[in-house]
């Protein structure tokens, strides 16, 4: 009964070739997050949506964009992937942005850049 679903599980792209990762949720949560996790490092927040309100982290490169066409879906677009963008990308949701809210994570998409 997956509640936060990420596709694909593994994605291989070429240097500079745009790629889109997808996330869907069945929880009807207001907030959706994208985290980047490189090997042996902490998950790092890229941006989040509260409903349709987009919130970018200050240090997220312009190369990363996101779309949320409806409550259920959120996409991560990498316009020109570089070798340094190879990482696990985690989607998460929460009902609200209260500080004690539990996050629900997807299984992640492992991105490789050749």
């Amino acid at each position: 009964d997956a509640m936060v679903i990420q596709n694909p599980r593994y994605q291989v792209t070429q240097f500079g070739k745009p790629v889109t990762l997808s996330c869907s949720q069945t929880l009807n949560h207001n907030v959706m997050y994208w985290y980047q996790q490189k090997s042996s490092q902490a998950p790092k927040l890229l941006f989040h949506y509260y409903d349709k309100d987009f919130n970018n982290e200050a240090d997220t490169p312009d190369n990363f964009q996101s779309r949320r066409p409806n409550t259920s879906f959120c996409f991560l677009d990498i316009r020109s992937p570089g070798l340094g963008d190879a990482a696990m990308y985690l989607c998460a949701t929460s009902k609200q942005i209260a500080t004690n809210e539990k996050l629900f994570f997807g299984s992640g998409t492992q991105l490789s850049v050749l």
């Binding site: 902490a42 998950p43 509260y50 500080t99 004690n100 996050l103 994570f105 299984s107 992640g108």
Partner: protein, 115 residues
């Protein structure tokens, strides 16, 4: 800026051994603290959380964590680990009074329990 440190990157224990994973944070204000776990091949999931009240928090699967404000710590403990506890454990912080809307994670501790 807030940060979370997990100094043990990889811990190997035998079954029935006691576990303590360290988590220290850097932030001077009010905090909410979490431990998330990621079992092999699965997604991150919440193990336990602290945001007020009793500083000793009990979570799922026999885990507990103690918030010690004076030490800026939130260590995770389990008296007797099982092979099924093999996973990666992440400590995370949310500062309650900065308006920052997302968790700050530590880099994780990989726990390997040998049968």
């Amino acid at each position: 800026a807030q940060s979370v440190s997990q100094h043990n990157h990889h811990v190997i224990l035998s079954e029935a051994a006691s576990l303590e994973l360290g988590c220290n944070y850097s932030y001077g204000g009010t905090v909410n603290l979490f431990w998330y776990v990621q079992y092999p091949g699965q997604h991150l999931q919440l193990l336990l959380k602290y945001f007020s009240g009793d500083p000793l928090v009990k979570g799922i699967k026999g885990f507990e964590a103690e918030f010690i404000k004076s030490k800026f710590s939130f260590n995770l403990r389990k008296p007797s680990v099982q092979w099924s506890d093999t996973a990666e454990y992440f400590c995370a912080l949310h500062s309650a009074d900065t308006g920052r809307r997302a968790l700050t994670f530590g880099s994780g501790t990989r726990l390997q329990v040998q049968p």
